[in-house]
Symmetry: C2
Subunit: 235 residues, 2 copies
C-alpha cells in the first residue's frame, strides 16, 4: 500500500516524526504537500474530505483510513513495519515514551510561542525569554535525565532495551532539534547524558535514516518549525 503523508511542506515540525518512521521502514509513501503544495491539506482540515477528519496535521492516509495525531500514526505504523515488539507491555511502554516525547515537543515549541501560535515570536519576546529560561534551566534537564535514566536501566542502547522501536527515532529527532535550537545549552548538558548522545548517533547511522538525512527529502531545520534557533533564548 502506498501511504499518503499530509504535512506542511516547508518544515520538519511534527510531521518529521512520521517521516523518520516511514523512511526507516522503507515504506512506500508520498509526502503529498511537498508534491502538490500545502493546499492539499485544506479539504481534510476543513472537514470536507474525510468522514472522520483530523483536527490538525500531520495525518496519514492508509487506504480508506485517515489517521491523525503524530503518536497515533506512529502507533499504527509501528507493528506493520517492525518498529515495535509484539508484546503488549512493550507496546504500551513504547507509546507512553512517545507521548512523553510529544509533551516535550509541545514545551519546546512553547519556548518561542508561550502566549499562543496566533502571535509572531517577535510579538512575544519578553514572554519567550521567561519561558525559555525555565525550559533550559529546568524542563530540558528533566526530560534529558528521564530518558538517560531509562537508557541506563534498559541496557541495550535503545529505549526498549535491545529492541529498536519508533520512540528511538523520535528521541533522535529531539536531540537533533535541540542541538539546532539550543546549541549552548546542549553543549553543556550532553556530557551528562552520554547514552542519549549515543542513541542519537546510532539512529543517524542506520542505513535508511542516514540515506534520508543526506537526501533532499530531509527539510533543513529553519525558523518556522518547532526547533528554532534564537540565540537570546539559549542561555
Amino acid at each position: 500500500m502506498r501511504y499518503e503523508l499530509y504535512y506542511w511542506p516547508s518544515i520538519q515540525g511534527r510531521g518529521e516524526f512520521v517521516r523518520l518512521a516511514l523512511e526507516e521502514a522503507d515504506a512506500d509513501y508520498v509526502d503529498v504537500a511537498r508534491e502538490r503544495g500545502a493546499g492539499a491539506l485544506t479539504p481534510f482540515l476543513e472537514g470536507k474530505s474525510a468522514e472522520r477528519g483530523p483536527y490538525a496535521a500531520p495525518f496519514l492516509k492508509a487506504g480508506k483510513l485517515v489517521i491523525g495525531q503524530t503518536s497515533n500514526i506512529l502507533q499504527w505504523l509501528a507493528p506493520r513495519h517492525g518498529l515495535v515488539p509484539k508484546a503488549e507491555a512493550a507496546r504500551v511502554w513504547a507509546h507512553q515514551l512517545q507521548l512523553t516525547i510529544a509533551d516535550w515537543v509541545d514545551e519546546t515549541h512553547a519556548t518561542h510561542h508561550p502566549v499562543g501560535g496566533a502571535f509572531y515570536y517577535e510579538d512575544q519576546k519578553p514572554e519567550s525569554l521567561r519561558s525559555a529560561g525555565h525550559f533550559v534551566g529546568t524542563r530540558l534537564p528533566k526530560f534529558l535525565g528521564y530518558f538517560e535514566r531509562h537508557l541506563a536501566r534498559d541496557k541495550g542502547g535503545w529505549l526498549l532495551g535491545r529492541g529498536f522501536s519508533y520512540p528511538d527515532l523520535s528521541l533522535f529527532q529531539m536531540v537533533a532539534g535541540l542541538r539546532y535550537a539550543f546549541p549552548r545549552a546542549m553543549a553543556r548538558l550532553e556530557p551528562k547524558h552520554p547514552r542519549l548522545v549515543a542513541l542519537h548517533d546510532r539512529v543517524a547511522a542506520r542505513p535508511r535514516v542516514a540515506a534520508y538525512l543526506a537526501s533532499d527529502r530531509r527539510i533543513p531545520f529553519n525558523q518556522h518549525g518547532i526547533f528554532r534557533h534564537y540565540p537570546e533564548l539559549d542561555a
Copy 2:
C-alpha cells in the same frame, strides 16, 4: 484485579479523565494518594519504584504494569471494560479523538500558565490575558466546532456514532470544566453546539457517572487544576 490510580489528591486535573473511565467501568480501584497522601507518588516519579516509571502523574498500576500518560491509560483500560468497540479503525479513531482532547487540555491549562508551570498565575497575569483572549476567541470555538461537527456526522449521539466510548467521558469533562473556567464564553458558545451539550448531559446521566459525580470521590473544581475560574480571563 484491583487497579491503583496515582494522581494528585486535591485536584481533578488530568487524573479525572482516568477516574471517569474507572467509575463508568465500575472497576475495582483505589485512588492511592487520596488515601495515603501525595507522597505515594514520589518513588515512582523519582524513578525508584518501577523499572519503567512514568514521567508524570497520572499513572495506573495494573498488576506488574505501571502505565503512564492519560491517553495511554485510557487506551489500555478501554477494551478491557467495554469502553471502545472492537474494530481497529474505531479504536484508532477513538484514540485520535482522545489525543486531540489532550491537546485541548494543554491549551486550556496554558490560558493561566502561558509562561510555564514554574510560575504562579499571579506572576504571569498580563501574559495570561493575551493567551486566554486568543483561546476564548479562536481556539475554543475551533475545538468545540470540531467535535460538534463529528457528532453531527456520526449520528447516534456519541463521538463514535451509536457506540459509547472513552472519549465521550473526556468530552463531558471538557464541557464541565470549561463551564467552570469560562462561564461567560461558554454561555455564548453553547447554543451553537447543541450536540456537545447533549453529549455532556447524556454522560452525566449515565447511572455510574451520576453516582460518581454525586459522591465525595468527585473532587470539586478549584483554583489549582486545569480548569480555573479567573473572571478576568473569561472575556
